[in-house]
């Protein structure tokens, strides 16, 4: 029983309830951010500007949840004086909520560009964006599971998979450049796509931040080596 002390309950039950509420709020934020990303990309694929506008309007809900997380963290720090794994859990809650808020911002940005893109003729490389987004969604889902289940292996695996994202970004980047050189009339649309790809690539970086936070939660140390970056411009 002593051996999994960090997983056993606090003597004071309300403390456990408050910690569980914090994790739930963050998990809820995460699933909303992932949905926002999915809808934004759907709006690109379907050329559905209503859906895109809906995504933009929904971003405020995630901002509200971030504020809610901040409130809970302040309260826990002030009233519980957490230490050790509880302290790390609460501190990373603050960090993860910022990362998720940024992810949702990128999703909203994708949606805004979708509205513009929908007014331009379709260009072929548009297919690269949903491909990247699918990977981003998978990474968000995995990192959220790792967070809720405190699964360090899953966190590190997700962290490593950001490399796939970087590779996809570089290849889409090249494809778009080639396309624009071949047909300068597509430059406007392709530039938007390029920014969208960059946004999704940045979402991947925030996922790796979250994975690093999970590692810190469990091990109490920083993930040591930096993930190798393929392209310094990426």
């Amino acid at each position: 029983m002593m051996h999994n002390m960090e997983h056993t309950a606090h003597t004071v039950k309300s403390y456990d309830e408050e910690l569980a509420l914090l994790v739930n709020t963050i998990a809820h934020m995460g699933s909303l951010a992932e949905t926002q990303l999915a809808s934004a990309v759907q709006a690109v694929v379907w050329r559905d500007s209503d859906l895109a506008n809906h995504v933009v309007a929904s971003d405020s809900r995630i901002d509200e949840l971030e504020q809610e997380v901040h409130k809970q963290v302040m309260r826990l720090l002030a009233l519980r004086q957490p230490v050790a794994i509880d302290l790390r859990n609460i501190v990373i809650g603050l960090k993860i909520s910022s990362d998720l808020e940024r992810i949702a911002d990128y999703a909203a940005n994708l949606a805004k560009r979708a509205v513009v893109l929908n007014q331009l003729p379709t260009v072929k490389p548009v297919a690269g964006v949903p491909r990247m987004a699918r990977l981003a969604q998978e990474l968000i889902q995995d990192v959220l599971i790792a967070y809720v289940e405190r699964d360090e292996n899953k966190a590190v695996t997700t962290w490593k998979r950001d490399e796939e994202m970087d590779e996809m970004y570089i290849s889409l980047f090249r494809e778009l450049v080639t396309y624009m050189m071949e047909d300068p009339r597509t430059i406007t649309a392709c530039t938007h796509l390029m920014f969208m790809a960059k946004n999704i690539e940045r979402i991947g970086d925030h996922v790796t931040n979250i994975a690093e936070s999970i590692h810190f939660l469990i091990e109490g140390t920083l993930l040591r080596c930096r993930r190798p970056k393929r392209d310094i411009s990426a």
Binding site: M2, M5, E6, Y15, R88, G220
Partner: protein, 274 residues
Amino acid sequence: MSLFAKDDAHLVTQGEPLLVETACAKLSARNVNVFYGEKHAIKNVTLDINCNEVTALIGPSGCGKSTFLRCLNRMNDTIDTCRVTGTITLDGENIYTPKVDAVYLRTRVGMVFQKPNPFPKSIFENVAYGPRIHGLTSSRSELESVVLTSLERAGLLEEVSDRLHASGISLSGGQQQRLCIARAIAVSPEVILMDEPCSALDPIATAKIEELIDELQHNFTIVIVTHSMQQAARVSQRTAFFHLGELVECGGTEQIFTNPVHRLTQGYITGRFG
């Protein structure tokens, strides 16, 4: 049968070397065991107390932290059934050899208790008592100077300077505790042992004692037993966690409270014990 599983057998953790070679160890306990009759109260504890540092001893009731503290100036000698094995050295000298005079030892290793216990004497006499019986001063003026300096260092002088001859018992609880600290430092000890010095005090009096501990550590080595983990975190540089008579983990206070190595330590400090 040990409480601990195989991987817990070697309780002292690797997070930070227990025996700090670089810092000077004022007190060194090696394989200390304490028995009260049949009861094995301290089990094979090895721990260094560094110079000019505050070391906090924490752990649940009955874990042996107070017993260990009382070994450091042989207060346990007063208990007939108590037996101590192993060695404890003060500046490299074993304090448990017969030639060591326990009374003299206690002038070098002073003690402050949980409940303030001033003598039923004046404030002045409370502080003058130690230097007088140990013949540490050679004149009235020297004694006065020692008393005033001690009260000053204990942060009490300003509050009592106009009533040095009032009874020590007339002071508030927090003032009485600072009087006891003044009394302890009047004989110029090198180490001050504090056994839950703030547990009978309100938060403001507690803050004053904690501020005093911060000040005193420049000149003294301090070992404090406390039930308040927040207090251990606030005042100490090193924290040692005891459980069932064993030293589970000792490390820098920051490390202990942010990333303890041992599960038992984590369970205790985060409030998941038992």
